[in-house]
């Protein structure tokens, strides 16, 4: 099933043609209407007439979160406020708040994007969709609301929180699909169990669309085992509009609609584009947004991209699971390493716990050395020293296969590594650079 079959199955060349046309129009518009972009282009020594094809994209300067903050609230808008029909704003947990604006067309395109996504993961007008993302200035609630309603699903606009009510309505109204954060879903299923409701057997819930925070394949498995539903990943940020893309039923990546967005993966350090399948920072250029168009927006999210045709029949490129944030990236012997990759490996090894530390040092010969400390779990055998040495070797080999760089593994007693409340600081970098 497709929401927009003609567009969703366009060939790669046809999509590139659309992208090129829209990109050329975009650079002219922003240069004309936005003093911010005009200044930015001039600083980078680039003029709209230099952008003749998609290959010229890399000539354009990046935009970042800091630009939105520096130009708070409306400095990057490209239309007069009379054309803006809605604001959303971010809470500013990582800095000053940012505000985003939408024209009527922007809202329509946002809905179009998420409708395509919802249909691709099997949501239809027959579904009853409980939207447990926050409604309000956060884009999650209203974003899903408009798209689900446009699709003809029956919406339960319950917003976030009030867990007992969530369980009660899920049961009484026969909710089939829920949209919320993955951690809330885990909480909700435990809460339901305490109320004597087994989501797998006592409700009609069959799927969940989870995002707005980083999560892992392990969490996906836990949710699916606990609740018997199918869990889909959703991607979007408020700057790009809000929730925009989800996995399709193939669940091998998230389709980015190429007629609306140009996605690139760049090395977070150098800003150079990386090759297909290589990991780096997702950079997005919005080619249909009007109120707040973004050129080469640095999302800060680390992933990789695949552009071969998907098993679902859609031709639009896919980004894979978000591996981490660009800010968290470490460079070890010239190789980009993300703590989330290390965490992912450790979670698969039952003999060790979930807490870990990464220690970076530079040897006298100038080579970096990475040591991973991890706590032993209850399930380790400790009869001989080789039990431990073999375990350390096994972990090191798994890490090497994922990170492409060797790490020394040191197991330690349970409970001895530092615990963190809130944002963990798991990296100790002793290198003198």
């Amino acid at each position: 099933m497709y929401w927009n079959p003609a567009i969703e199955r366009l060939s790669g060349e046809e999509l590139e043609e659309i992208q090129e046309r829209r990109l050329r129009a975009l650079v002219n518009t922003v240069y004309e209407y936005s003093p911010f972009y005009r200044r930015r282009f001039k600083d980078a020594g680039v003029h709209p007439s230099d952008i003749k094809s998609l290959n010229d994209l890399s000539k354009l300067p990046f935009t970042k979160k800091q630009d939105l903050r520096n130009n708070y609230p409306f400095g990057m808008f490209c239309v007069p406020l009379s054309q803006v029909v809605r604001f959303h704003a971010s809470s500013g947990t990582t800095g000053k708040p940012t505000v985003v604006g939408y024209t009527a067309n922007d809202i329509r395109n946002w809905v179009e994007s998420l409708c395509r996504a919802l249909v691709s993961c099997g949501v239809s007008s027959k579904d009853i969709m409980q939207i447990a993302y926050g409604y309000g200035l956060f884009t999650g609630g209203l974003g899903f609301h408009y798209a689900a309603e446009r699709l003809g699903s029956t919406v339960v606009p319950i917003s976030a929180g009030n867990t007992a009510r969530q369980v009660e309505l899920m049961k009484d109204l026969g909710t089939t699909v829920i949209a919320c954060t993955p951690s809330y879903m885990l909480y909700l299923s435990e809460y339901a169990a305490e109320m004597g409701v087994d989501i797998a057997n006592d409700t009609n819930l069959r799927a969940g669309i989870f995002g707005a925070e980083p999560w892992s394949e392990e969490t996906r498995k836990r949710i699916e085992e606990k609740t018997g539903i199918v869990a889909y990943d959703v991607y979007g940020t408020s700057e790009l509009s809000g929730p925009l893309f989800t996995e399709c039923t193939e669940r091998s990546g998230i389709h980015i609609w190429a007629d609306m967005f140009i996605a690139e993966i760049v090395d977070p350090e150098t800003g150079e584009q990386v090759g297909e399948g290589e990991k780096g920072e997702l950079v997005v250029t919005t080619i249909t947004k009007e109120a707040l168009p973004l050129i080469r927006w640095r999302t800060g999210d680390i992933t990789y991209m695949e552009s071969d045709k998907c098993g679902c029949g859609r031709t639009h490129p896919r980004i894979m699971r978000i591996l981490g944030r660009a800010d968290d990236m470490l460079i070890v012997r010239g190789v980009n390493v993300f703590p989330s990759q290390i965490e992912h490996v450790l979670l698969q090894i039952p003999e060790v716990g979930e807490h870990y530390m990464i220690i970076l040092d530079r040897r006298d010969d100038g080579l970096d050395e990475m040591t991973i400390q991890v706590e032993l779990s209850d399930r380790v055998s400790i009869d001989t020293t080789s039990d431990i040495l073999n375990l350390e070797r096994k972990i090191a080999e798994k890490l090497k296969s994922v990170l492409n760089v060797w790490a020394k593994v040191e197991v330690v007693n349970p409970g001895t590594l530092q615990r963190f409340e809130g944002k963990a600081k798991r990296v100790i970098d002793k290198r003198k650079i």
């Binding site: 400790i382 009869d383 001989t384 020293t385 431990i388 040191e410 349970p414």
Partner: protein, 137 residues
Amino acid sequence: MIKQISVFVENKPGRLAAITEKLYENNINIRAFTIAEAGDFGIIRMVVDRTEEAYTALKEAGFTVRLTNVIAVEVEDEPGSLHKIAKALGDAGINIEYVYAFTSEEHKALIIFRVSDEERAKNVLENLGVLFKGEIK
């Protein structure tokens, strides 16, 4: 078969004291003790008089601790005793992974073995009449 306690311990000052403190607090007597060290860490193996209590005390204190069945033999505390056993196991093609020994007033000389093939080792030792079947006091 007797129960041995093994404890994972990091190679840092004070780690052994943390373990012995727990045993002392619980009035547990160590009968035999050895550390196998491997760089950053070591494995303590010991036989104590009250195994379950020692295990619980160490576990509750957060140590990584295991109970393992090991073979013990009781021999006269005199020249040639260990040799006789080591030779018998060697002749039978059984590998000794580790061994440690202790003497006490209660017992003659007790030798603790971990071997590659437990069942066959037991037979060999039984035939020699040295397999320890009692309890450690």
